[in-house]
Amino acid sequence: MKKHISVALIGQPNVGKSTLFTLMTGVRQHIGNYPGVTVERKEGIALHNGIEFRIEDLPGIYALDATSPEEIIVHNALTNWNHDVAVNLVDASALARHLTLTLQLKDRGIPIVVAVTKNDIALEEGIAIDHTKLADLLGVPVVIGSAKDEGFTHAILDAVVKQSANSLGNKRHLTKEQRAAAAIAAAVSSTTLIGIGERSARIDRVVMHPIIQMPLFFLVLYLLFQMVFTLGDPLTGLLEGIFGWLGDTIGGLWGEQSNSLFKSFIVDGIIGGVGGVLSFTPNIFLLFFGIAFLEGSGYLARMAVIMDRYLTRFGLGGRSFLPMFLGFGCSVPAIMGARIIENKWERIATMMVIPFMSCSARLPVYVLLISAFIPEQYQGLAMFSIYLWGILMALAVAMLLRKTVLKSERTELLIELPRYALPTLSSLAMQTWNRGKHFLVKAGTVILAASTLLWGAATFPRADIPGGTPDEEAVRIQVEQSVMGHIGKAIEPAVALMGGDWRVGSALIAGLAAKEIFVSQMGILFSLGGEATEEDEGLRDKLRETYSPAAAIALLLFSLLSAPCIATFAIMRAETMSWKWPIIQFVGMTLIAYLTAVLAYTVGSAVI
């Protein structure tokens, strides 16, 4: 008997492939990308009865035509077959549709094991499947069960072991797979209840009701955001506390008065930089958890349907909605989330405008400027206008892109609305971890590198600071005479057109690493030290003394619209597999932001 068996999981989307894959492999899985496309490649190892199964979870496909990226991958995997056995998952409650793929696989002479899943749901709906008869008719081993059955994965693996012993199945040519599939399905299923999927249909009558659907839609979004921020913020605070303590403790090793460069590099550069990234992770993991839940419950597909008619007017589609919405949290996972959009041009257009959706890192900048300059009764309105303006810009730019450089025929919506189900906690946890891990590695490495670079730019060349200078003043002098200070001064004439000065210029440059850095950088440049926050009264006073209200509005608009942060740039490069789109995005957004800000300042100065 073989000690290693290579298995490919094949099935339609929503058949429960990922759940079974997770059950089989647990944490022993690796997620990467197929070369050249951004389709997730999932591989893992399962151990059963002393045999090691190498399992590749092929992307979910509806049929074996080479049209979508997913289908091309599966097509190639079957053409250059290098696995021992294919496990073909079929849905017990929609057998006819799923068996088409089974017969296509069989036709190619690939040794298969058919795993009939979701038998619990089928039984509930009164569908009984005679799996012995199914095995006879298909001429392949058939295992039946559901992800909730303990022994289901073991039964599948046992069948795989048996099937791997028969090398290649007997090749048979089927021309009318569809008809055959329907006939087989009819022969093996006996429906005792009328009205299949009745429970889901009942839920849909409420959820998709013309009057209820929109309020419910926004309620779900609201709850998602509440969950992310109310649960995430205390954890973020905790992490910030831990990193602050770590910085103080390690910094303490050098002594209070030490101005060792190495200390500054470790404490401000490394700990500050890594801490900055890590303190964002609770929010991001919670967001991914929420998405996994919406996806697993079946509501996500409905959200795409509800939004489709609105977004098609802007050259986007229903599937663009979720990634854009995620942009309110963080552009990085949002751009990764755009993978669900099939049409390439529609996908790129969506990714290009995601940074206009105001991410959470920009919030501290708004809070600082709005609380310093806007009268209290208008502050809420100002905040709302900023977010709204971001959404409008996103839609306008998307429309422009789709009418010019990203022109393509509009892809019509055609999606299956999976039955409502309660996702299992373990599959939610695995999905959250697997996507979050991706974010940590990709964004973490880039932000770390960028913060090291920024630390260098603010630290060199070393300034001459007379003895006896207070600490905050010393820091300010250092930054002013550093590379970053010089850049700020070099771009001052341009920044002046939007009412700012060199301080604003260098703080905006620093904000490229992560938008919220703008606040602490302004704190440093006004000699308040690097710990100044958006709530700092001293900083607000300094800003009011230095800048005009028109400049504050220009700066707000600039922060909203300007170039995405470095992590976003990096993820755009990774997801589009080209430098072109991130560069166009970076330059384009900066231009739009600058022109808007200059216009706002000019008009604002005349009016106010």
């Binding site: 339609q12 509806y62 049929a63 035509d65 049209t67 409650s93 929609a94 006819a96 549709r97 088409t100 793929l101 709906e125 569809q178 299949i196 999927g197 889901s200 249909a201 849909d204 998709m208 013309p210 597909a301 795409a304 349907v305 489709d308 008619r309 229903g318 509009r410 019509e412 919506l413 055609l414 999606i415 299956e416 609305l417 999976p418 039955r419």
Partner: protein, 74 residues
Amino acid sequence: MTLSTVDQGNRVVVRHIQPSRMLTARLAAMGITEGSLVTVVSNKRHGPILLDVEGTRIAIGRGIAEKIVVEPLS
């Protein structure tokens, strides 16, 4: 008549699908082929149409529905 003009609640049989290699295959994978029975669950004047095909819910763009010729089931 085309699928896009069917009022909700009606059950129809698919007679013809305007040929397009990619579309035909995708529709077939969703269980929509010539001869299949389809119930229109929801159809407003704009936006996607919701169908029930053999117990599976499918949302289909209006443009696609216009390419599917159907006949009411009496």
